[in-house]
Amino acid sequence: MRPTSALLRKELRLEWRTREAVPAMALFSVTTFVVFHFGIQQDAVSGALASGVLWVTLLFAAMLGANRLFVSDVEDGALDGILLAPIDRTSLYLAKAVSFIAFLAIVEIVAVPAFYVLLLGPEALDAIPGLLAVLLLADIGIAVSGTLVAGLATQTRSRDLLGPLLGLPLLLPVIIAAARATEPLFAPGGAGALPLKWLAVLALYDVVIGLIAVAVFDFLLED
């Protein structure tokens, strides 16, 4: 566990000092809400539309961040150092995934209130407890696949293109489940019950893709 926590500290400190990915992701989400306002020509959204706007925005912001996950490691040579160190390579994956979850959580601290103010309206406040549960499970899902996809795309010539191209279809089950789970929460007449079925799908996705990613990630680093 110690290498993982050391690498995790390194990720968080690096982001704290450079402030490269998280502010960009947060700004991107807020701008996307504005784009949605003009794109769908609505002042307020509810139900399935609200759920869709929120998840599409968060997914695209996450893709933006996933692309940056390994870039500094590759460009500044940290990856070589990590590979030379006598540690299990899985700890690199775990540190990246956990730091990505943390980045997503910080982005959502900005994006979700902005979503409430700009598009949702105050009557949906009772949706927050359910929304937090969905956000947590979906963030884990986005992080486990996003980190793997970022690892795949980083060493290619066209990594900026390939990351989202691979990530979007791979994350579609997360979008299906998360959008369905939050739809009743944003219902016009106040929050409905949280559909536990979709939370179970999210949890299953997190576990299956997480285990596979841990199993295959070593092969991306065999140099």
């Binding site: 795949l152 010539r157 066209s158 691979l166 279809p169 089950p173 489940a177 299956v208 596979i212 295959v216």
Partner: protein
């Protein structure tokens, strides 16, 4: 090595597929609602099943490649996914034609099999862009295999999520199987066998072609000629 018995296999494929289509048109009963359009069932469904199995086979070859480091498994995985992608285009086109004929729309979002096939197809469509964006042949093979394993595991997960999302009930031919006459099943299995043979034949042909190209490259190199690396999964 891959060319051996290819002629027999090709003839068997041609005979089985012809028999399947002949049976489909002249022996299988006419569908009461959809009429002759329902015959596309004998092309579309076997093709979809074979394409999905091909993706799974690509994943299994990829696991073997990652375990053994033997590049031949990677080539098998590449060719399996390539063939499945080609069949996949056929599945989407025939599915769309069938949807138009049966329900009046070119695309139906509440048909889970079709929707999840589209998602799987979109994911696998990234296989070649990913592969050929990597220069180093060894890393190319390794990364492609990692992708094939992850995508192979994604297929059932995605199917489940889409099926749960679209729990409306369209009359699905295979689901209410109790009231299907035995002749439909017979023709369906002959068509499935034919499509499976077609896949095997095409797979063997491409493997033979890749092997030959690799051998020619090796011979050219021995003659001292400059061999230009191309975008290809064939051995260098």
């Amino acid at each position: 090595m891959y060319g051996k018995g290819l002629r027999t296999l090709s003839i068997a494929t041609a005979v089985t597929l012809t028999a399947a289509f002949a049976l489909g048109f002249f022996y299988a009963p006419m569908d009461a609602d959809q009429g002759v359009m329902q015959k596309i069932f004998y092309v579309h469904v076997p093709m979809a099943i074979v394409a999905l199995l091909g993706f799974v086979a690509g994943g299994i070859f990829a696991i073997q490649h990652l375990r053994s480091g033997d590049r031949r498994h990677d080539m098998r995985s590449y060719v399996a996914i390539h063939m499945s992608l080609i069949l996949g285009v056929g599945v989407l086109v025939t599915g769309s034609i069938w949807a138009k004929a049966a329900w009046g729309h070119w695309w139906l979002w509440d048909e889970p099999a079709l929707v999840s096939f589209l998602i799987v197809f979109l994911l696998y469509a990234c296989y070649q862009p990913l592969r050929f964006a990597i220069e180093d042949p060894e890393r190319q093979a390794r990364y492609a295999s990692v992708f094939a394993v992850v995508a192979g595991a994604f297929v059932p997960l995605n199917f489940m999520a889409v099926r749960m999302a679209e729990e409306k009930t369209h009359p699905r031919v295979l689901q209410d199987s109790s009231n299907l006459p035995g002749s439909v099943w017979l023709v369906f299995f002959v068509a499935l066998l034919g499509m499976g043979l077609l896949y095997m034949t095409l797979w063997r042909f491409e493997m033979a072609a890749k092997n030959t190209r690799g051998q020619i490259r090796k011979l050219r190199r021995r003659l001292g000629a400059d061999v230009v690396a191309t975008r290809s999964a064939a051995p260098r």
